[in-house]
């Protein structure tokens, strides 16, 4: 099956899962090597959660072959379970128990004896920065603390592969960055991670390798820069102080780049592909100055994953996702990151 000397971390061949008339996965193909964070990216309903549930041995594929570290998720389910830790979409911690009690319970269920379970819980508490709240009931936790505790619960058995299904959905910006920091630390310490997300900025922040899926099929796979490069050219982005001048700015940018210039729905920005890069940027700056238009921010950047995703799936599919409230949250956390500024939620451009 594999030509290398070690089995890949995850090998999915033609995975199909049907729930009645709904086809959740439709021949999904995916290979992941150890030593990296893999993001499975796709709009709601793309099949991300179903794929995670297959890996977690909760759903049996109707056809195809799915292996984790060479072990089949159906035939060798028991050994797969020893190797994985699952943090699902909902924080599955017991609210009436303290953080420590939750972790010790899960450690015991992973197979640790009492003393080892205590050590594992203590270590995870420290690692995930939960020391201050560890002995409080988890019902008193903030959203981010509860997610981190849930993350911890999936870790206390020191799994070889951590499965995170939409780890930050529904969290406020502060909690989101807390969870991101925790995931980064885990990745640095050598845990292999597969996470699903429909936030492009999340994949941008955390993942080494991205697999884009839609309608249960893999539509793209590669490193982040490969994915961005696959839609090619740089983008000029102009932010204006006075929204009334937006149309004029769009006209000027379109003239210079001789292509379509797109005003953002927020009414503050114009973006346009710039095939000639820096030269065109200079030209736009000169013309805007000549027209006495005050510019808040102007720059040339690589396309965002958002744009890559739209190019891959087509705008119609992206329009399926609606998450207006979360969109604002995502934008808030990104103010100091011009490379991915704006609203990186898939749904935001629809």
């Amino acid at each position: 099956m594999t030509t290398g000397n070690a089995a890949p971390l995850i090998a999915a061949r033609g995975i199909t899962v049907r729930f009645g008339k709904v086809t959740a996965l439709d021949g999904l193909e995916l290979t992941a090597q150890p030593g990296q964070v893999l993001a499975v990216l796709g709009p709601n309903g793309a099949g991300k959660t179903t794929f995670v549930r297959c890996l977690a041995t909760l759903v049996r594929p109707d056809s195809g072959e799915l292996r984790v570290r060479g072990q089949d998720v159906v035939r060798d389910a028991a050994s797969v379970r020893k190797d994985i830790g699952l943090a699902g979409q909902f924080a599955a911690v017991e609210p009436t128990m303290t953080g420590r009690e939750n972790l010790e319970m899960t450690a015991r269920l992973f197979g640790h004896r009492r003393a080892a379970a205590r050590r594992a819980a203590a270590s995870v508490i420290e690692q995930l920065d939960l020391s201050e709240v560890a002995d409080r009931r988890s019902s008193t936790y903030s959203g981010g603390q509860r997610r981190r505790l849930d993350l911890g619960a999936s870790l206390v058995g020191s799994p070889r592969l951590l499965l995170l299904d939409e780890p930050t959905t529904g969290l406020d910006p502060v909690s989101r960055s807390e969870v991101w920091a925790a995931v980064r630390r885990l990745a640095t310490s050598g845990t292999d991670i597969l996470l699903t997300t429909h936030y492009l900025d999340e994949a941008d922040q955390l993942a080494d390798h991205v697999v884009v899926i839609d309608h249960g099929r893999t539509i793209a796979s590669g490193t982040l820069s490969e994915l961005k490069a696959s839609i090619g050219q740089d983008v000029i982005e102009v932010a204006v102080s006075d929204p009334r001048q937006l149309a004029e700015v769009a006209r000027i940018v379109a003239q210079v780049t001789s292509g379509p210039a797109r005003p953002e729905p927020t009414g503050q920005r114009v973006t346009a592909p710039a095939p000639a890069g820096p030269g065109q940027l200079g030209e736009v700056i000169a013309r805007l100055a000549a027209a006495s238009i005050a510019v808040e921010e102007i720059g040339l950047r690589r396309p965002t994953l958002d744009e890559a995703f739209l190019a891959l799936t087509g705008a119609t599919d992206a329009a399926d996702t609606t998450d207006a409230a979360d969109t604002t949250d995502a934008a808030d956390t990104l103010d100091n990151q011009p490379a991915s500024a704006g609203q990186n939620n898939i749904g935001s451009r629809s």
């Binding site: 549930r53 977690a56 041995t57 909760l58 759903v59 028991a78 379970r81 020893k82 994985i84 830790g85 699952l86 699902g88 979409q89 909902f90 924080a91 599955a92 017991e94 009436t96 128990m97 009690e101 319970m105 899960t106 450690a107 015991r108 269920l109 992973f110 197979g111 640790h112 004896r113 080892a116 050590r119 594992a120 270590s123 995870v124 420290e126 690692q127 009931r137 619960a153 999936s154 870790l155 206390v156 058995g157 020191s158 499965l163 885990l186 310490s189 050598g190 845990t191």
Partner: protein
């Protein structure tokens, strides 16, 4: 800071007893630490008993025995039918909120979920049975026979608690959410009320009597009454029903849990 990467790996997979114990411990902690469950459950069952004893009781003729002596044994025997809704709701919540998924993704024996849940919920039902029985005495119930007979009857009530715990677990597993589980568990009221528990079955209209007579609750409460009086009539039938329900519902629960 300890790196997660060097955390020790679990030496083995957990055994059935250990895993069931953890599942039970969690359910018990949740029950004890949620006053809405542990305290209000008892308050509710005592209020029911109070209403039957002092509100409806005066209008019900139970033959030769006084109504309180007729009511209390049957009420304690069938109390699990009223409290069981909580079990179904808890099981449905675990499923919806991801706890069951987490459990099934762990290397635990599949039976541990049902066994742990059954142990915990049986224990909480024993608590309800004991406290309700205590209030029964307070409301005027007296043992007709010896205290040994009383203990035997209590033991049989505990058997029923275990049996119906499994039935309510299955209800919770089939319910799509907690509200639906609550609704489904109301079906138990039909069995509780259309039986010989609260009124003699012979006082019901003729078309209803066959259901009252042949459904499991009637022999079950009759068996408790007869044990109290020092006889054992209906006990065999009651235990046969108990065994049948366990044999039918346990595999359903295990299979359903496995599907997640």
């Amino acid at each position: 800071m300890t790196a997660i990467g060097i955390l020790e790996r679990p030496p083995r997979t957990p055994g059935l007893a250990g895993a069931s114990g953890q599942v039970a411990l969690r359910a018990l902690r949740k029950y004890i630490r949620t006053p809405g469950l542990s305290v209000m459950g008892v308050v509710q069952s005592v209020l029911f008993l109070f209403s039957f004893r002092y509100v409806f009781g005066g209008a019900i003729h139970a033959g030769a025995t006084s109504y309180v002596d007729f009511l209390v044994p049957a009420y304690v025997a069938s109390i699990v039918l009223f409290t069981g809704g909580g079990i179904a709701v808890a099981v449905a919540e675990d499923k919806v909120q991801g706890f069951t998924d987490r459990m099934l993704s762990l290397p635990v024996p599949r039976y541990a979920l049902v066994l742990g849940r059954t142990i915990a919920d049986s224990a909480t039902n024993v608590w309800t049975i004991l406290s309700t029985a205590a209030f029964g005495f307070l409301f005027g119930f007296r043992l007709p026979g010896t205290w040994q007979d009383g203990l035997a009857a209590l033991g049989l009530c505990v058997v029923y608690a275990v049996v119906f715990t499994i039935v309510f677990i299955v209800m919770g597993l089939f319910a799509p959410n907690a509200q639906a589980a609550q609704g489904m568990s109301l079906i138990a009221f039909v069995f509780a009320f259309i039986s010989s528990a609260y009124v003699p079955a012979t006082s019901m209209p003729g078309w209803l009597q066959p259901f009252a007579k042949y459904q499991p609750i009637t022999p079950m409460v009759d068996a408790v009454r007869s044990l109290l009086a020092g006889s054992a009539s209906d006990v065999g039938l009651a235990l046969a029903w108990s065994a049948l329900l366990v044999v039918v519902f346990t595999p359903v629960a295990v299979i359903r849990y496995r599907r997640g």
